[in-house]
Assembly symmetry: C2
Homo-oligomer: 271 residues x 2
């Protein structure tokens, strides 16, 4: 590996996201050590200059910045507990998806080991990693974050949210819930128009995207209503009730599968 003057980094976990994070480090010239339970996943990165560690211990020892990106927090602990002693004096940046509570307890666990802990939430799909459009949320040790801010900036736009380690997860999950709500609605929408032989791509590009963009643009207005505790007008409630009932009925009449309508039905039930 060439000496680029960039700090060495380690990435543990090479799913689609872990691979994208390691690849961004490599492109920026960071000496990058990688480890994955299934070693074959490391091969494309090794071809780009990464060092594949034989063991987790070797991976942790290779850098003072240790990034972990696995499926869930139980997997984080399963991978790191056996090498816990080696984390002392290092910065652990955990970008695994987890609850706010898991992030907080992992921060305590890391502190007990003498490691500095930063929790991260990646608001981007893997192909976007490495561009400014990839927003990554962080919380936990500000000092540790600042120490590796340059390396982390190779992934995209960093947003540090505060010293409560749970804040990144809280915001990450909040944003994901907005996305899943939108996708559930989109799935229903596409299923509805496809009953009339309209393709998903045609509908999405010609009508759905402009519509959703215009609805995203009105969100500050809705947010102001929430903050001010404003009551929704009786007329708007009536209009919404009628529209939701019409959606459920038309989707059902057109033969949209019940599991696609279910989230919309649930919105109606709780409206």
């Amino acid at each position: 590996m060439m000496d680029t003057g960039r700090s060495p980094v380690t990435v543990i976990g090479l799913g689609a996201m872990g691979q994208a994070l390691a690849a961004a480090f490599l492109r920026a010239g960071h000496p990058t050590t990688v480890w994955n339970r299934t070693a074959a996943k490391a091969e494309p990165l090794v071809a780009e200059g990464a060092v594949r560690a034989e063991t987790v211990a070797e991976a942790v020892e290779a850098a003072s910045l240790v990034v972990v990106c696995v499926l869930d927090y139980p997997a984080v602990r399963a991978v790191l507990e056996p090498v816990a002693a080696k984390l002392s004096g290092r910065v652990l940046v955990n970008v695994t998806n987890g609850t706010a509570q898991e992030a907080r307890s992992t921060a305590e666990w890391a502190a007990g080991l003498g490691a500095e802990y930063v929790d991260g939430g990646i608001m981007a799909i893997p192909p976007v990693i490495g561009s400014p459009e990839a927003v990554i949320l962080y919380s936990g040790s500000r000092e540790a974050f600042d120490k590796h801010a340059d390396a982390l900036a190779t992934w995209g736009t960093s947003r540090f949210l505060g010293s409560d380690a749970g804040l990144a997860a809280l915001h990450d999950l909040a944003l994901l819930s907005a996305m899943y709500g939108m996708f559930a609605g989109v799935n229903n929408a596409i299923a509805m128009v496809r009953t009339e032989k309209v393709t998903a791509v045609e509908f999405t590009e010609s009508l759905l995207m402009p519509w959703l963009n215009s609805m995203v643009a009105v969100l500050p207005m809705l947010a102001e209503e929430v903050d001010s505790g404003a009551e929704i007008s009786h007329e708007r409630k009536l209009v919404e009730q009628v529209a939701l009932a019409n959606i459920i009925e038309t989707a059902a009449t057109q033969g949209v599968a019940p599991d696609v309508i279910a989230p919309i039905q649930s919105i109606k039930d709780h409206a």
Copy 2:
């Protein structure tokens, strides 16, 4: 009323949307007759030059283009049945929210009266009416639509979808279902971050809007997957399962009300 050379138009139903439609006609110089069950709603429009009809019959007789914008289709029929004979030879543009089936049967009913029928779906909130950002979907009689295309264009950008009168409602409801899904997700997201004293406006402007805009931008990719019948990868399914479980748990732990989480719970149950 000044003679502007513009064709006379009638608007029946002056809720927030009907008022916006009539106001756009007036601004464009169309002699505009309005009627509403509660007559007081007509006052701001009369101040801008509209003629308030005393009866529905008088309203229908005032123009060859009759727009109806009421709460639902039962209300459409309740208002128009008594004056059905007077609709002969006129164009009825019904922009009331209804099911695709209601639109189709209203088209048949109108045809039986010798009226030309266009069904419309307004994809905009009232304040946006009159700007090109307001997209209005139409279906039904193409000839009738063309006859009044100039008048209808004063509302925004017209999109004629086909001669099946149900198509505008189908697309309208599909788009609304995508919006309601997004709003349900947004409500959950805002409720989650507000548990940590973050304001809805701050969260919406700094994180939620850029995030949702970037997720709208990936929709063509999802649409292509739908059209091609591609299977979602096992890894992506696992990641989604973990994230949804984490959302439900964190929302509940942070004390978000169950009725706000419900649509997200429903997405998880049917994932």
